[in-house]
């Protein structure tokens, strides 16, 4: 992919992000932060590439540490989001 196609995806995604985030209800802003935390750990993809690669030993170890850190976030972020979302309940309907 050339730089311009990547940039196009990025710019479009910023707009999508803008509209999607404005539609998030303020009551769920804390879960929003927790889940954005989890998904930004998709950086694990880069960490895996570094950890998988042959060649520089140091790069591989840096990659492995990054894999571990990103995993903390992925599992922790999704789990804590799920825990929070499970707490939001509606009023029980009165008989």
């Amino acid at each position: 992919m050339d730089f311009i196609s990547i940039l196009s995806i990025f710019v479009m995604a910023c707009f999508v992000g803008y509209y999607v985030v404005w539609s998030v209800t303020p009551a769920l802003h804390t879960p929003l932060m927790a889940v954005t935390n989890a998904i930004s750990s998709v950086i694990i993809v880069g960490a895996l590439i570094a950890a998988l690669a042959a060649g520089s030993g140091l790069a591989k170890w840096l990659g492995l540490v990054a894999v571990a850190l990103a995993s903390v976030n992925i599992f922790g972020g999704f789990a804590v989001t799920q825990r929070m979302l499970a707490m939001y309940k509606k009023k029980e309907k009165k008989g």
Binding site: F10, W22, I43, N73
Partner: protein, 473 residues
Amino acid sequence: MEHVASAVPAWALLAYLVSGVLFILALRGLSSPETSRAGNRYGMIGMGLAVATTLATHEIASLPEIAAAIILGGGVGFVVARRIAMTAMPQLVAAFHSLVGLAAVLVAAAAFLNPQAFGIAGADGEIFAVSRVEMGLGIAIGAITFSGSVIAFLKLNGNMSGAPILLPLRHVINLGTLVGILGLIAWFTLEPSPDAWIFWTVTGLAFLIGFLLIIPIGGADMPVVVSMLNSYSGWAAAAMGFTLQNTAMIITGALVGSSGAILSYIMCRAMNRSFISVIAGGFGAEAGPAGAAAAIDRPWKRGSAEDAAFLMQNAEKVIIVPGYGMAVAQAQHVLREMGDKLKHQGVDVRYAIHPVAGRMPGHMNVLLAEANVPYDEVFELEDINTDFGQADVAFVIGANDVTNPAAKTDTSSPIYGMPVLDVEKAKTVLFIKRSMGGVGYAGVDNELFYRDNTMMLLADAKKMVEEIVKAMD
């Protein structure tokens, strides 16, 4: 065996795109609590897909180590997520931000040390210029996110005072460091074969500025800081996505980056402050003495738990206004108990939330949800503010500045112009506060205390509510 980025098979590119779309759906789900749980599952599937795709398209040389890293990290994350108290959510989010930042730094450093593996170097081993910009920005933003979040964590967790720490000449130092970082990144990019020290100096300076940027910012500005760091962690991921030409990372980075930026904007608007003034820091430190001195000698009314119970039981409409003090006192559960009692007696009970109540966006909503308060009884400022006029009692627990009528009338007040909850329009205001001495975070005295229709309930928030509940029997 070369893994040039352009050699990634078409199906893998498609899979990354799908996982990007799943992340969009994860955020889309948060538009309402009913759809949010499904959204969270989309997010998990997207993440699983991205990881599986990466593993499937690369020669797997070190699977045991990677599995160990995932299990170790994932285990820690999972246990922490299960055990953390809801009141500690702001610190947890700050800690998570710091990890994203550090992971970005490590990935960028690994890419710099082993560019062939990332397909970002030519046959001569030199990293492409465009990759050098992306990498430089990625490591800088990652490092700022890391050190800034560590400071935010220490402040939120109480390991470090929440008061702003003001260094002399801090604006000069900060600007100088920032210019230094950008200049070095430019040099690193333009030089045909740059020395490694430029890259590492950028990293070091970025760690430093993250630290310097957050220490002068006080506790109540934390909602903005946490949102801002959230945004940075997104931009760091996006920059690395450019380096790796990975659509999942770019889409996610853009989503998270805009999410944090929008949240920062909402928080600033709710305080009527510009983003620049929050970042410049020091709010609350200068205003302190003047506001506090004006306070003391005015008459005010003190009420007891019994008075409060009587007033609320005989009311038709009660609006509860929680703030950070409720979180500190862990009073949300007993508050819900009080609300239930009132509801059983036919009182209409609702909750009014100011956008900056607490230490992060939506903080109060999560605590109330934890205490089993149904979310359709909880309202945002603009949806409930006109209703105070019809309310019999406004019950303020742990909030202060966000209820100060001076924000509407006193042009000399540091919080003038900030949107506030019109609690003084209720027939009676019950205001829980530890003592009359202290002022709110902004360091201003609250007009509300001295009004005829205000009754001060001086005690720890949790204890006071417990006593009110007892008095209701």
